[in-house]
């Protein structure tokens, strides 16, 4: 699509709606000047090809990504995060083409670690996945707009999600590293705490898991493990029926602190939850009706192959609820998470950035 013209901003927004270039919400009009400035904030030449986005196999250039970031309402500081997120979903392990095309309700969850959380003001506390946080809202939205306009994911013709879920508009948050007693998630994925990263994984809608911990109850940690495991090992999830994929878990700071105070590590938690995320063959056969793998000798199925298949990070407010993100478990790479470093120091000086 070449350059468009309209008589004013309002007409331009209507034109973009009519052309199917929006997510249904109003957008910031990507004027050449705004796109150029956002491109400068990304720190690379506008015509640099970052990769291809399926199912349209569209070339994702810095300029096209800048268009998406402008339309989404990003600030220039958000540009390197958007760029890293786009690179992550274009990694072949992410299976973006298949993920965009599937009938399953799946959307990319973006988790930001490292110093970028602060300089982008990406929220990781109360309501981090809800409204009110510009960086969270616009970074995730920019990725979605890129997936629509570059990747060609449009409902009913190429994005075949039967119903979808609201996370398909935007789903981005930071790990609450300041309130976590554990090491940040990206350090377990090969990065240094001083590096900033995005980790992107395709997930279902978030599922609240209520766990009332009690310091006087010696079964508290076991109950926590069983409850978290049950969120994945129920017959409604693809983790139970298909297995073999990865999924995510947002541990609230109270739950994390409780575990740490009893000497638990994240590695132990992952191992215990993955071991407990098991569904009985007879239970599954009586409900799901989609069993294409043999049960284990004990007549059960595991939801996860390895402890590392469960991404765990600390986020949200302190309280009763942690949140499970079941997943799709399909595609050639079976729903793999991808972590990419956010490149800092590439950004050029941006004339008039405050008015972007």
């Amino acid at each position: 699509m070449g350059e468009l013209s309209a008589v004013d901003e309002a007409a331009a927004v209507e034109l973009l709606h009519d052309l199917g270039c929006t997510d249904g919400l109003p957008v910031t009009v990507p004027t050449p000047q705004r796109v150029q400035r956002m491109g400068l904030a990304m720190g690379y030449d506008a015509d640099l090809v970052l990769g291809t986005m399926g199912p349209n196999m569209g070339e994702c250039t810095v300029e096209k990504l800048a268009v998406a970031a402008v339309m989404a309402g990003c600030a220039p500081d958000h540009a390197p995060v958007v760029l890293a997120a786009a690179r992550a979903v274009m990694d072949p392990r992410f299976d973006l083409t298949e993920m965009q095309a599937t009938t399953h309700a799946i959307a990319p969850l973006i988790v930001v670690n490292g110093p970028a959380r602060d300089w982008c003001q990406i929220h990781g506390g109360f309501g981090a996945l809800g409204p009110g946080h510009r960086a969270n809202a616009t970074i995730g939205r920019a990725l979605r707009l890129a997936m629509i306009n570059i990747g060609g994911g449009r409902a009913g013709t190429s994005d075949m999600a039967l119903l979808g879920h609201p996370g398909k508009f935007t789903m981005c948050l930071a790990e609450d590293e300041l309130n976590s007693p554990f090491e940040p998630m990206h350090t377990g994925r090969g990065f240094d705490p001083s590096q900033s990263t995005v980790t992107v994984i395709g997930v279902d809608s978030p599922q609240s898991v209520m766990i009332n911990l009690d310091a006087d109850d010696p079964t508290s940690t076991d109950r926590l493990v069983q409850s978290l495991a049950a969120a994945f090992a129920n017959v409604t999830t693809n983790n139970a029926t298909l297995g073999g994929g990865q999924a995510a878990l947002a541990l609230n700071p109270d739950h994390a602190t409780f575990l740490a105070s009893r000497g638990w590590t994240l590695a132990q938690l992952r191992e215990r939850v993955v071991d407990a995320a098991v569904v009985d063959h007879d239970v599954l056969a009586a409900s799901a009706g989609y069993l294409d793998r043999p049960p284990r000798p004990d007549n059960t199925y595991r939801c996860f192959d390895e402890p590392d298949d469960l991404l765990v990070f600390v986020a949200g407010g302190g309280g009763l609820y942690s949140v499970a993100f079941p997943s799709w478990c399909a595609g050639p790479h079976r729903n793999q998470a991808v972590t990419v470093e956010i490149e800092t120091g590439q950004t050029c000086a941006i004339p008039g950035a405050a008015t972007l």
Partner: protein
């Protein structure tokens, strides 16, 4: 040869174009086929078989 139900026909067109294979042979099936029962699926198979054979023999893709 791709078997595509009516609900997914537009997606099939989209994917065929995007991967540079706009003329890939496709046969259209009613929707849904999955879970519609052996009797129905046998009927669908019998109905589309001539079209599949024609397509495999180099004739045009069909809308079943």
């Amino acid at each position: 040869m791709a078997l595509v139900t009516t609900e997914f026909w537009a997606q099939g067109d989209f994917i065929a174009r995007s991967v540079g294979m706009p003329d890939i042979p496709r046969v259209q099936l009613p929707h849904p086929v999955a879970g519609s029962g052996t009797k129905n699926m046998t009927m669908v198979a019998a109905h589309i078989l001539p079209g599949i054979l024609d397509s495999l023999n180099g004739k045009a893709a069909i809308d079943g």
